[in-house]
Symmetry: C2
Subunit: 211 residues, 2 copies
Amino acid sequence: MGRKEKNEQQREDIRQMILKEAKNLFLKDGYEATSMRKVAQEVGISPTTIYLYYKDKNDMAYALHKEGFKMLGKQFMVLQSVENAFERLKAMGRIYLQFALENPDFYELMFIMKEPIEFLERQDKCEWEEGEQAFNSLLNTVADCKKEGFFKDMDDRIVALNIWALVHGLCSLKLQGHLDHVAAAHLGEDMQRDVLDDAYNGLILMINKLR
Amino acid sequence: MGRKEKNEQQREDIRQMILKEAKNLFLKDGYEATSMRKVAQEVGISPTTIYLYYKDKNDMAYALHKEGFKMLGKQFMVLQSVENAFERLKAMGRIYLQFALENPDFYELMFIMKEPIEFLERQDKCEWEEGEQAFNSLLNTVADCKKEGFFKDMDDRIVALNIWALVHGLCSLKLQGHLDHVAAAHLGEDMQRDVLDDAYNGLILMINKLR
DNA sequence: TTTTTTTAATTAACGGTGTTAATTATATTT
DNA sequence: AAATATAATTAACACCGTTAATTAAAAAAA
């Protein structure tokens, strides 16, 4: 009985070793440049051996995607100590933005690229645990804000969705380079130093008016 | 003198022919599956001949990207007949959303993928004409809305940026599949039929409260 | 302990990809 | 008609993800 479990553990260890090297390469060169062959070489195994532990590259992409959510979750931990709901909401957005800027490759894998979700759906797993959990945190915070007088007569879920979409939209446009191009054309020299921050502050201002 | 121009014209014709077949394949199979070799075969030329007319695949991606903006621009034409500024803003968002849903591959090339912008920047062209022009339309409409009492005490550019980010965020999350996953988990059966529409209507409602 | 069986890992190979260098065919100019 | 410039092609490089066939290692049975 202990035999089988030991084997399972060993198998999981190798899976983890592969993931570790994949993560290193991913952080250094990005997703596209992280090939199965390179990961294998880094681990010190044959390229095809990876396929004994990960179904395909999308499987690995999903593993990294989960890794990213672990990292973001850690950053979100500090929110537990923020009593005031609106302050918590604001901090949440700031942390999200900061995470995207500091870990652009992870952010892409978590919220932009199709590969990880494609893998999920090929496994017939409708649930997307990581995302649903994160959205739930936002949803709860929005609900708490409502008790403080914000978002009157509005559906929590719709509000949460729109806030997520807005902040994600800013991240997406920023990482893609669009934000900077438009800023260079339409905003003064003084502003484009940090359009993202200015935009987010504008959002906070707008929400404040929504009381 | 006319010789040179005739040659230029002929060259442009071939460029266009290549683009046409690339567009067909792109619409059918998406960007990744549209290889230089396949495009060449469709045109009836050698794969390497394409490189005499397009610097690389990113160059072709940018050409398709521009094609997409032409299409979106056509859709935006009807906005000229909308007198009321806020109605125009609302319609603009609806058209944008609809375009993204009906032309997901083009939308990705225009607003999500890095390749076209990477090409732009490699050519040392800071300006991103297509996007800047579209953003300008939005900016003007926001300014007009201001005259009608919306967005008081707010920077037009920041408001426009946030609106773009929100609508783009919705499109991005939808096309990536995230929206549906979260909707399935958090929204009732009745709602997920069209989360996108519900979210957009929510946005309009919010803006209405911002007067 | 030796043989058989199962499992793990490897090598070889397929069918692709974007792209560059060297070569041939086609116009253009002298 | 010969020399030159331009256009297009073939050959080749260095990769990629992935599958099938083969070998090495470990576990179970004799």
